[in-house]
Symmetry: C2
Subunit: 319 residues, 2 copies
């Protein structure tokens, strides 16, 4: 974080025409933007929503999703034609939407049988994700689409944090009953099968993650280097980012979590990361939708901080 | 509420390209908009933020605020010159801002000594508030500015709901210590002095409210009649609206509460009204700021509902 920008943001905030602290969390967000953009006042005039789409071998092998795997490709087409939720949210919040299609015809390997990705596949996906952080983008929302990916997210969390597989598994797109049991069993089996190989968090990502999770990891790294604050989305997106926090505590300090997902394990995951989400709207769609809604708050924070008059400018008496 | 529009909204929602219920509270907001606009799909393309500004005799008579009473007028000038938080928020969310200045040179009477307003003053303020709901506006955010008005809000709540005066009093713009004690005493005295006169909720408004609170009551009524869904702001705004709920349960069904204010009594007040706020950002500024931030969610809800493709349109397989 840039200490000079933090200091400048704090000083300005104290002079704006409002009682001290009256904008609450919006003031914290403004300071966080300044810290990680290294700019005072920070700007959010070119936000991007990046959605990474990929397929998962486990979703073909096991009944872990309420939807067929073809839906990943179909939803990518829906994004391209402007018909998904995230398209509407980008219009409302003036954000640029980029959809990154990751070899949908080549899903990862079924990770209940062995590693989901080879070293080179995982590295390629990471690098692909890094490309989403382009020059000029000043806030990035990260999202994903991939039938089966809450199974991967649960496996990542189970591998990183232990507990029971069931602690990290939820309905995802809406599985229940036998399908939910199959999902728990798949997560348990994935972690058991790959246990020996998962010697560090990146190996967790490679063994039980997926291409879109790896891309999110890459984007979070590139954003740190490129001074682009990040808005994370729900369970799958946060699970991917958790890989980095497990590697190096503080690695997600340039990220806020846009919303608390209705996927039950998201709250526990945020507890592990010490992150307080901006919104709690019972959403559980993925595709960056919660992050895109939260972008409205982040833009609000930046606009108040940069645009408000000071007491002196406005001739308003202080307290 | 318009049952046909609710039905149409529900039917459409079930066909949109997402798992059922995956947009959580945004889906409820879309249905609520349809219900009270009487339109399916509902539209939020002309939102207005109405801020009512007035002065309070009690703020001159007693040390209830951290700021001098002149600040009401100074902040109105700040609104007019575009320097306040609400100006920036209206820019971010493409909302029209209207500031209604209510005879600032004529504050209400000090309500610790007798009624704040005469019948005719209160009626005039109500009527003035009604004018904020103009033809074509399809969502209205209500806010207020008035040094001393959290004292009036506390007095309204204490009169409506009983308890101790201290239960309803908080720091407002930032009073503490002796000033906070003086504020509690003023609220207690206000309710005792006016007890005999406060025979119904409108008399509570007249005796211990204020012009901007009466205007908010008028705007909420006019919005119901004019089919304009309302976003309420924080403690003072919600306390004003509570007058109507006390008159007629259900009178606020066309209103959502934009945010939970950091003013401690707001949570208790929302409990009395059975309202769940959209946001919880520790804000406590007033001037419609929390409602204006929440407008971003309401616009998001409307945009997803109206703009998303159905499964059939997008060729996406269902669950």
């Amino acid at each position: 974080p840039d200490e000079a920008s933090i200091q400048a943001a704090r000083e300005r905030e104290g002079q704006l025409t409002k009682p001290p602290g009256a904008l609450g969390r919006l003031e914290e967000v403004a300071e966080w933007l300044a810290a990680w953009q290294g700019k005072a006042p920070p700007r959010v005039d070119r936000p991007r929503v990046a959605v990474f789409a990929a397929n998962h071998g486990v979703a073909t092998a096991k009944p872990v999703s309420a939807f067929p795997v073809d839906v990943t490709q179909q939803m990518v087409a829906n994004f391209q034609h402007g018909g998904a939720a995230v398209n509407q949210l980008c219009l409302v919040h003036d954000a640029e939407l980029r959809v990154y299609e990751m070899a949908l015809e080549h899903p990862t390997k079924d990770f209940t049988e062995g590693p989901a990705m080879t070293d080179s596949e995982c590295a390629t996906a990471l690098a692909y994700g890094m490309m989403a952080v382009e020059e000029g983008v000043n806030v990035i929302c990260l999202g994903e689409m991939g039938i089966g990916n809450t199974t991967a997210a649960a496996a990542v969390c189970h591998a990183l944090y232990g507990g029971e597989a069931a602690d990290w598994v939820g309905p995802g797109t809406g599985v229940e009953g036998d399908a939910l049991s199959a999902k728990v069993a798949a997560v348990q089996q994935a972690v058991e099968t790959n246990k020996a190989a998962m010697t560090d968090p990146f190996e967790v990502l490679r063994c039980v993650g997926g291409y879109e999770l790896a891309a999110i990891v890459g984007a979070v790294i590139a954003a740190r280097v490129g001074r682009v604050p990040v808005i994370l989305d729900g369970y799958t997106c946060t699970a991917a980012a958790a890989i980095l926090e497990a590697m190096l505590p503080g690695a997600l300090d340039h990220c806020v979590v846009g919303h608390l997902s209705a996927e039950p394990a998201h709250a526990a995951l945020l507890g592990k990361l010490g992150k307080e989400p901006l919104l709690n709207l019972n959403m559980r769609l993925g595709e960056g939708s919660g992050a895109a809604v939260a972008l409205g708050l982040v833009k609000s924070a930046a606009a108040c901080h940069a645009g408000m008059a000071t007491f002196a400018e406005a001739g308003v008496s202080g307290a």
